[in-house]
């Protein structure tokens, strides 16, 4: 089933995240490249090296966001040691693009003050 929020990945390129989203990871797996590996094409949005998909649930205490399913495909290198049941902070710009990700042990009540700028 499609996630309620789908983010695309871009490298930060000196940009600062506008929003921090705290996510409990429920699935972390190699991104499917589809039949005959069509999804491996570098011209596709998710055609970066070694793509992995994070699927999780938003933990921010917000009426619009709390409990929503979220999905992000990103290069494995950027995901670090994230695994199932990790809690991560996503730095988001333009309401649709994740530019940084950080594993955290902080609780949901800290989400508002979290930032992954500079990573």
């Amino acid at each position: 089933m499609a996630a309620e929020i789908t983010l695309k990945w871009e490298w930060p390129d000196n940009r600062k995240a506008e929003k921090s989203i705290l996510v409990h990871v429920i699935e972390f797996k190699k991104h499917s490249t589809g039949i005959f590996g069509i999804g491996k094409s570098p011209s596709l949005v998710q055609g970066f090296p070694d793509p992995y998909t994070i699927r999780g649930v938003v933990e921010n205490k917000d009426n619009f966001l709390h409990g929503k399913t979220i999905e992000l495909t990103l290069p494995k290198l950027e995901a670090g040691d994230i695994e199932k049941n990790s809690t991560v902070v996503l730095g988001v710009i333009n309401n649709e693009t994740c530019i940084c990700i950080r594993k955290t042990d902080e609780g949901a009540n800290k989400a508002g003050s979290m930032s992954c700028d500079g990573l």
Partner: protein
Amino acid sequence: MGFKSSISLIGNKILACLFLLNQKKFIFFKASPQYLLYHSLSAHSLSITTKDGCILQGWRFPGKDVDCNCIGIYFGGNAQDCADVSTLAATLNLSSVYAFNYRGYGLSEGEPTQKNIFNDAIAIAKFIKADHPGTEIIVIGFSLGSAVAGFVASQTRVQGCILVCPLSSVADVVATRAKLNLPSRIIRQKFNLNQYACEIKSPTMVFVASNDTLIPPSLSEKVYKRLECKKQICQIENADHNDVLIQARFVDECNNFIASL
């Protein structure tokens, strides 16, 4: 009758049947909820409950001229999430702009039909008038929303009406774009602005995008010709249907029109 014309006739009938069976899907492209955008705009969000118990999601966006005595009500296109209107609202010389998602769009409940949308639009106008006594209302409709704004302007007193890329009727769009001449009785979601445009009494501005590939400019001009009120038409050069709202000239002409009211 030749072979080719027989095939064409049969094809036309099949397409007509498909349209008849799925016309709501052809007309209403329900916008999926944009939760992150809603989160960003949560300070402006509001909702109203219709008489039949449906909750409609909406926003009151600040305009450019907060001291102005005019409020805008925006009615969106058939695939538009009205949360997107915040940027446009900030450029208009209005104190604020209200925008509500149609039923089934974004987080609004229910199913969209012409009847529901028209009833909801009137209810929204009444709600805003009651909430802001003494304030003037300007209705703004884009694409399908122009039929809704036009309907409100034909049924209630408003200070002005702005129709952006208006369609004369769904039947006209189907006939022009799909080359499909359907008997009008089989189209249930008619949005026949051409029929009630003559009942609009307030000054009306019609915008036409010169490169509109969705609603041919000729259909918008047809609406303009049907208007019997004080009216203006403005063609936005090099604009297509989906980028007309972000054109600088569109914003300037809108503000000129608002100033003239």
